[in-house]
Symmetry: C2
Subunit: 765 residues, 2 copies
């Protein structure tokens, strides 16, 4: 390579200044040309300007969307609508090592049901932790409809930390929703079932099948749900559905709607009309209203019943203590959404054409006056529909969900059958605007639209069908999230975003500046337990230890080698590999894959990850780093050698494939010296400028300094071997010294480019 580093650096610099054109010139298109070629209207151009985000630009809001049956949460930006991350939650995902490293396997194992590992979830409703009813950007919760569970995700590192299994439900839907200070995470049943794990015939449906709302206690200090401090309220075998927590005026209450209060049981295979017929016959279903603050006190007072070792407030107790009420709601409702001031609760009945606005004040007054319209078959007091209504508005065919604007009294309702969004005033009960979407909208989402202070600006329509919106990709279509500008009176559709994986249900959007994720872990960190890993190791202290019959390898990962590079164990051993990524540089993740054992790890800077597996058969198993981390990434490799039982190594040394002489050594040292001169010139360039004013450059300089320190170590080894006349090792260590230089040059050039592009100034020294 000789002094080519220097040459090319010079060439690169020259290109920064100007390039003499030699080829025939191809004329560039004007804006008009482009619009004509692509058939764009002025309206399209305006939409483009509202959403296009140039390189390095930031989105105003980040969205956390359920991934539906993909079992994940996805994160995207508004207004660019670019997906930034899929967070693995209920489904193993190898890129993140989730479900592949021992640490995350422990999280997934928390979600076992009846001892069985589950490898997916049907995620529905993400909820961001709140403080005083505002998103605080610290935690995210999401439920699994299929196997009633709730997961906790830390927004410091976007990782799943905990999964809790509902102790009494067999199906759920109305989760996760948080109370205004994240005291509890709410989860409500979908399809009724017995609380016990026993078989109960459907002939006992009305008596022994039950719904419930569970209040999961969240300990913010620990960042974990505390199952032992959580409780449920027993509900009738209606199909409970979405829920929402009261806020401000209605704080302390939660609301859960329902469908199939007919308690119909299908059986089309035996000639009975299907569920869909029997579950949609009545004109109204029931909104459940629960005083959760009082419920928590009742539990503390010992008035709960232990079912499956979990505190349940029975319906009888709930009725007696006056914490549970029903209100009729038309018809087969889906969304229930409390207004920002907590005064109103809007319910959209999917088989009604109206949205119903309930007044919390009226509901509360009726309860206080014990003014009930009757009771349901289980004795739960029913409030009168008309007496609790503020207004009803005809919003369209198949209304589902409601989201609030920053402007007072403005709400948006998704209209499934009409494929529209209706904007209306819920104070005055007036429709203001409608917009067509493509197609069949489910949920919709405004910015922080379910908090006490929605942020306006944008609305996303989470459509269930895309049909003809995108290039076709086979029978299984993406979903379509459409971005709507709601800044003005008239809603404007400004972007169509395909969802490439999963079927999102609900999503929540938070102001991007509320999120402060970290870029690295403390060195040797078990990120799933949020503590120093017992398996961490420092560079230079790597070792192998056998304990309790398990061969523990305490290794490290750094650009561009894995320590150890050779691991030899005997057939039948259990191996437990522990790797600490000892990088400090942002985005310097390393991976680890090995053939045939289903082991794939992801170690972000600072993280310690482990993989424990049995080696059943003798053989040769190559391993390597799976993240393209440096120029010599492909050389970041090693071998696991499994010897047959009782194998005695022959006294054979490695066959060197190549021999090196003093001449090779001298040549390498010359190249290194030249390279060092180039590095010095880059260092000079950087330090002559106000680089300390740029955090990313400060980080790069730290990283480059690390690499140059490693280079100095390798240089010393090379020189020591040279002094002893061992030209083989001297040359190889001189090469390693050079490799560290290349890494330092890589970083230095990035720092230099950054300074150039950000108008850094020369400073007096």
């Amino acid at each position: 390579m000789k002094s080519t580093v220097k040459k090319i650096l010079t060439v690169s610099t020259a290109f920064g200044i100007g390039l003499a054109w030699t080829a025939a010139a191809w004329s560039a298109e004007s804006l008009d040309d482009v619009m004509k070629r692509r058939g764009l209207t002025q309206k399209d151009l305006l939409a483009a300007a509202k959403t296009y985000t140039p390189t390095g630009g930031r989105d105003e809001f980040l969205v956390f969307s359920s991934g539906g049956q993909s079992g994940q949460v996805l994160v995207y930006g508004i207004p660019s609508m670019r997906i930034l991350k899929y967070i693995a939650v209920f489904t193993p995902e190898p890129w993140q090592g989730y479900g592949f490293d021992d640490e995350s396997k422990e999280v997934l194992a928390q979600g076992k049901i009846d001892g069985k590992q589950l490898n997916y979830g049907d995620t529905h409703h993400p909820a961001i932790s709140e403080t005083n009813g505002e998103y605080d950007g610290e935690w995210l919760f999401i439920n699994d409809k299929a196997n009633p569970r709730v997961a906790v995700i830390d927004l410091k590192d976007f990782e799943t930390k905990q999964i809790v299994v509902n102790p009494i439900m067999k199906s759920e839907h109305g989760g996760a929703f948080v109370t205004p200070n994240t005291e509890y995470v709410i989860e409500a049943t979908q399809y009724a079932a017995p609380y016990s794990k026993d078989f109960v015939p459907l002939s006992k449906f009305n008596d022994e099948y039950r719904g419930a709302v569970t209040y999961w206690k969240f300990n913010r200090e620990k960042g974990r749900i505390e199952p032992e401090n959580s409780f449920s309220v027993e509900l009738p075998p209606y199909s409970q559905d979405l829920s929402d927590a009261g806020k401000l005026d209605s704080d302390g209450w939660s609301f859960t709607n329902s469908f199939c209060t007919e308690r119909y049981i299908g059986g089309i295979e035996s000639g009975r009309p299907p569920f869909e017929a029997g579950c949609s016959q009545k004109d109204t279903d029931f909104l459940h209203m629960i005083n959760w603050k009082r419920a928590a006190e009742l539990v503390a007072e010992g008035k709960a019943t232990k079912i499956n070792d979990h505190d349940v407030i029975t319906m009888d107790t709930a009725i007696k203590e006056g914490i549970l009420f029903l209100i009729p709601e038309p018809k087969s409702p889906h969304g229930v959404d409390v207004s920002p001031d907590g005064k109103y609760i809007i319910v959209a009945g999917k088989l009604d054409t109206h949205a119903s606005v309930y007044s919390f004040e009226k509901m509360k007054a009726l309860i206080d006056a014990k003014d009930f319209a009757g009771t349901d078959p289980y004795g739960i007091p029913i409030l009168d529909l008309k007496k609790t209504l503020h207004t009803q508005v005809q919003v369209g065919l198949g209304p589902l969900h409601n989201q609030y604007d920053s402007k007072p009294c403005i709400v948006y309702t998704s209209i499934y059958v009409d494929s529209q969004v209706t904007k209306w005033n819920y104070c005055e009960g007036k429709v203001l605007d409608k917009i067509s979407i493509h197609y069949n909208i489910g949920h919709l989402m405004s910015m922080e639209g379910d908090t006490v202070s929605p942020k306006g600006h944008y609305l996303v329509s989470l459509n269930k069908l895309a049909i003809d919106r995108f290039n076709p990709v086979g029978p299984l279509h993406p979903q379509n999230h459409q971005l709507i500008d709601i800044s003005n009176d008239k809603m404007e559709l400004i972007y169509d975003m395909p969802l490439p994986l999963g079927e999102p249900h609900y999503a929540v959007a938070i102001s991007a500046d509320k999120l402060k994720p970290k870029i690295r872990y403390s060195t040797g960190w078990n990120s799933r337990k949020d503590e120093r890993s017992e398996y961490r190791v420092r560079p230079g202290r790597e070792r192998t230890e056998v304990a309790d019959g398990v061969t523990h390898v305490y290794g490290t990962l750094i650009r561009s080698h894995i320590t150890p590079e050779i691991i030899q164990v005997e057939e039948g051993s259990t191996v437990s590999l522990h790797f600490t990524n000892v990088e400090r540089a942002e985005d310097e993740t390393h991976g680890f894959a090995i053939r045939g054992f289903d082991v794939n790890l992801s170690a972000e800077p600072g993280k310690t990850v482990s993989a424990t597996f049995k080696v059943d058969k003798p053989g040769v198993y190559p391993y390597y780093c799976t993240e393209f981390c440096s120029a010599l990434h492909l050389e970041m490799q090693g071998y696991l050698l499994v010897t047959p039982k009782g194998y005695q190594a022959e006294e054979a040394s490695l066959q060197e494939g190549q021999s090196y002489s003093q001449e090779d050594f001298d040549k390498q040292v010359k190249a290194n010296t030249d390279t060092q001169a180039v590095i010095d010139s880059v260092v000079e360039y950087i330090t002559a400028r106000n680089f300390k004013d740029f955090d990313p450059v400060v980080a790069l300089v730290e990283d480059a300094t690390d690499q140059l320190n490693f280079a100095a170590d390798a240089k010393k080894k090379a020189e020591d071997y040279a002094a002893s006349g061992d030209w083989q090792n001297a040359t190889l260590w001189a090469q390693q010294w050079f490799q560290y230089q290349v890494k330092a040059a890589d970083i230095g050039l990035r720092a230099k480019t950054y300074l150039d592009q950000n108008d850094a100034k020369v400073v007096n020294q």
Copy 2:
């Protein structure tokens, strides 16, 4: 609901015409306002216009990108850079049911290694099938570096159909690359290992560790690789790397480069310099050149050796028969890319600053003249570097890969360390332009850039680090694919696209109009075997049969019910559920999830999917459709009831939760009659227009007709029950009749909207 359908339809229509504004007007932003608010330059606006794709618009090119260690392939559009689909390949993915239904489990099981199920792959290089060196858009191939395997994906439905395990490799990298008529799919070793599965000590590395190139025979009729007609060529224990097939002038040959021809073995844990030092010492490595057409003949002539029941042409045979040659290439090369005319092979040496352009004509002439510079330690003839070179060009620090333009002699090379793309003329050996990317580019991709006729226009830079480009999402960053406009002399960066999942390596882009995926399957289709499923069933013929101790349920899925709705089996049974989606409508996918058994299915229109599992414990297990398929999607539910062994059902009928009278029936019939009037008006609206000119509307009309036929069936049942005085069943079937009407209305409204938005014309009838 009464006649609300009619009302709201009228309201909706009114909104289409105009809306009386009642709220205070919020003024809309002008383009200048938006640019100012968002800090956009004129150049940004031009880039926005070049990439923004309005609703319903199509992308010009579709990209198939490896997902790296996510084990998937992702599909995105150019220029919108929107991701359209993640195709599950080596990793189970529940949204697609991949690895969850029996049919796809069989595909994944083909990829077992030593009997072990693997749940990830490290996908690297996708390849589209070719005809005469052009992409034909029929098949996609992708390799797994970690566990040497190749997968076959059908571009008719974007599904993985086959996985083959390499019979001799323990690690690979240089796959998948196809020959110009997809005769073979090429796969090359990465890290050398013994061909046998035995342990071989590293002291025997030079003698018993080996590389190889495997040529997988692809049978286009069957759409499957034929392992029995595939073969390999034995190679030295160099770390083989990327490969490419010759084309036109060089058709019949394939090229594979390598690094670590030093055959160095690391061992930093025992004081040896690491692999990265010893593998990068020599100034040149070797390009391998193999005559695969002659090799195939040699196999046919019986000159291959069976190793692990696989045909291998040994090095001795390859040398003797004159099909294997080496050419020195500087230094630790990565990409090897044959020019569109097949005349040149460009190699980028990542530790060199040059790209080397080899002339196939010169190589061939030397071979024909037996003019060799020597042999390697294994006796393979080496061609002289200088004699084979056309030119060398200094392109930058850390050049990796090359992609071709539609303009003659123009190539783009990714420059890793400099974080740049260099555009240069490989005929004249001249650098033309450079552009900075963000950051550390690996592969790059031009449109059909590795075929005989690249399409120009766009280039994508597949960057390994994103660092500061996007809103932060924790220590694990997305990757960054940057779209570059190459239409003009000067490259222009026009879009930054985050990669939310996985670490793509290579990607290929095909003109979108070459892809013709289907939108539905023939009814009762096993999509993984591409044949009628033995478990298909027609609506009305659903049944349960016990065979060989397994309870087979032959069921159907349709908006909005699952048949059967109740399944009752005894504890300890093995249940095999088979569901056929009997929809014909585009995008009408249904899912199936059931609690606790890790069963989640996806059935696109026409598909039959199965899940077989053992029910160990008595209990109640709700199931439901996971795709939001219709307004009554939530009611698309059922129960699996597992009775204890020997359970005798009591003679107890279901407790009806609700009773219906003649009055209820009459009310429902009235609602249905009103609804029918609305539907008739929509039908009239559609049929009065030239709807037959719009394929999507024709499809919707077909679908609506299906639903109305179902409605007629339900109506008949309702009327029959009414005639017999059974008001309970009469009312419920009348409700079901109404539900089919709602589905028809949903479809009809979509058709009406489509006609409105596409300027349909009233036609004389």
